[in-house]
């Protein structure tokens, strides 16, 4: 199942958060969206998810505009991990993950299949240990992994993730992205916003670089993650190295000069 944004723009008052962006995710792909703060990454995810309606352009899912789908139908086609989820009531980790199955309730799926999907998702996100804990009491990283498991349990052909690794330690960053890459290899269409360019280089099959709301570059990691493109979109000097055998890309921003004169004066 293919998800495609065609020349989408999103405007709030005088601010154009996304400008005529063309973005496509096909089955088998893991597209990483990178860019500076405020480049429009999260807004793009919200447009692709159907949370926001583009001011111009259209988003097509399986060839049909998003606003022609009803919410329950959409929930069986695409899943979304928002940046952070606050839950006011003390649901347990297992209850939160089970909610990922709700688009399929009463549709002929057996309790055993639900059970298996929840167990697989919890194992993949490494939260089996936390099953009985209350969500509000978890650490940020544990909450993020719980939400990811909820998305995995939804088991949809299109998966959208907004910074799935932001709150995670090194081991879990790699563990989670291995799972995500595995989803793409099993034929799902995956798009994830990633802040860490080294992770994007290591796991994505394609990279879309946003700069001030517009697509600045798109293509295989080796073509997009170059010193020239990155220095331009982050407005900061960045080196890109090739290390090891087989060579892998390592992105190394240059340290800035120490800023003098900031602080209490006199």
């Amino acid at each position: 199942m293919k998800l495609e944004a065609r020349a989408v723009s999103y405007r709030v008052g005088p601010f154009e958060l996304v400008r005529r962006a063309d973005v496509m995710v096909e089955p088998g792909e893991f597209v990483a969206v990178v860019g500076a703060n405020g480049a429009g990454k999260s807004t793009l995810v919200r447009l692709l998810a159907g949370d926001l309606r583009p001011t111009e352009g259209t988003v097509l899912l399986a060839g049909k505009p998003l606003d022609r789908y009803r919410a329950p139908e959409l929930a069986r086609m695409r899943s979304v991990l928002p940046q952070q989820s606050r839950i006011e009531f003390s649901f347990t980790v297992r209850q939160v993950v089970e909610m990922g199955r709700s688009p399929y309730l009463g549709r002929g799926t057996t309790p055993g299949e639900h059970e298996a999907a929840v167990a697989r998702a919890m194992a993949a996100a490494d939260i089996e240990r936390l099953a009985g804990r209350a969500y509000p009491g978890l650490s940020g990283g544990e909450q993020a992994r719980t939400c990811l498991a909820r998305v995995l349990a939804q088991d949809t052909p299109v998966v959208l993730l907004d910074e799935p690794t932001a709150a995670l330690d090194i081991r879990h960053q790699h563990r989670v992205l291995s799972v995500v890459r595995g989803l793409a290899e099993r034929g799902k269409a995956v798009l994830a916003v990633l802040h860490d360019l080294n992770l994007a280089a290591a796991y994505a099959t394609r990279v879309v670089a946003l700069h001030r709301g517009a697509v600045a570059a798109a293509g295989p990691p080796a073509e997009v993650l170059t010193a020239e493109v990155l220095s331009r979109i982050y407005e900061h000097p960045v080196d890109v190295l090739r290390v090891g055998e087989p060579p892998r890309l390592v992105v190394a921003p240059r340290p800035g000069a120490v800023t003098a004169g900031f602080g209490p004066s006199g």
Binding site: A75, V80, E88, S102
Partner: protein
């Protein structure tokens, strides 16, 4: 359930006229068309069937309505501190009832005040909803703030009306605002039960969707919930349940807020169990409160709202402190 049964039985047994439990059973079965050998006098029958049964029935549906509405609104606002007053239904109903008392007209006879309260509650809720809607969408914060604003305006108008009221009218208003199920008779219990049931029964079906909404507005949408429709339907049903309760029994505070809270502490946050449990416990709490209201200062009667507020207020205070201790502060 046990509490509910106990509360009902005590209500039927206790009172100025002594009626033993066996006689109560006999009277109820007799009216159900079953003859038993249980003995009761005509006076006992009149007291139980014409006074106590309608009264306890009204207490039950009012309690169930307020409990369910409170639970559903806490779910839909994703806020454990929401109560049926937040959407303006209570102050709208009060405005309708007070307006009618002050104007001194009763176009519909004994139905005038309930009808005015009912209409006032629904109209104000509708206004809160309409004013917070933009481009076919409502935001929870806008909704709550609009509720605050309209509640204040309704309060001001009530005050304005009271300024022009005579002493007798003031007394009526005060009693209405303190709440009572003492006015229950068979003719006015039937519509109250009907309105409450029409609202409470469909609300039970929203448990699963309210659970998904607890994950967040966007998350619920991603999982297939049409959040705008959900909000509209739950608010409409909760307003109906509350309006039915308020228009026949006056303003009764804290049941809608405290009952779902107690249950969340005991049963966890799953709305599929919370909604029916809130209906049952709300009914039981109000039946018990009414028993207290009519016995502690017998032969006089304490207003029901006084009992629930005096019991609910301290509990709420304790809840605030407990939450602060557990979370180290708000937010």
């Amino acid at each position: 359930m046990l509490l509910l049964g106990g509360a009902v039985l005590l209500n039927l047994v206790i009172g100025a006229v002594r009626v033993p439990p066996a006689a109560v059973l006999g009277i109820l079965l007799d009216h159900g068309g079953v003859s038993t050998g249980l003995e009761f006098t005509r006076q006992q029958e009149a007291v139980v069937w014409n006074i106590r049964v309608p009264r306890v029935l009204l207490a039950l549906v009012v309690g169930a309505g307020l409990g369910t509405a409170g639970c559903a609104l806490q779910g839909v606002f994703r806020n454990p501190l929401a109560d049926p007053g937040i959407i303006g239904v209570s102050s709208g109903a009060a405005l309708g009832a007070v307006g009618l008392i002050i104007l001194g007209v009763s176009p519909l006879g004994q139905w005038s005040i309930p009808a005015a309260a009912f209409a006032g509650g629904l109209v104000l809720t509708l206004m809160v909803y309409a004013l917070s809607r933009r481009d076919g969408r409502t935001e929870v914060v806008t909704l709550v703030l609009t509720g605050v604003a309209l509640n204040a305006i309704a309060g001001g108008l009530i005050g304005f009306a009271l300024f022009y009221a005579t002493d007798a009218q003031l007394r009526n208003v005060v009693f209405w605002q303190l709440g009572s199920v003492g006015g229950a008779t068979w003719p006015n219990v039937r519509p109250a039960v009907l309105a409450a049931v029409v609202a409470i029964v469909p609300l039970m079906r929203y448990g699963h969707r309210l659970n998904l909404l607890a994950l967040g507005e966007r998350e619920a949408y991603h999982l297939g919930v049409d959040t705008e429709q959900l909000r509209l339907q739950v608010i409409a049903l909760a307003a109906l349940a509350t309006a039915a309760a308020v228009s026949f029994a006056g303003v009764i505070g804290f049941v809608g807020l405290v009952v779902p809270h107690m249950l969340r502490l005991m049963l966890g946050p799953d709305h599929r169990t919370l909604l029916p449990a809130s209906a049952l416990l709300g009914a039981a709490v109000l039946a018990m409160a009414d028993l207290l209201a009519r016995t502690i200062v017998a032969p006089a009667e304490m207003p029901l709202g006084v009992v629930t507020a005096l019991a609910g207020g301290p509990y709420f205070l304790w809840l605030i402190h407990r939450t602060r201790r557990a979370q180290g502060g708000w937010g």
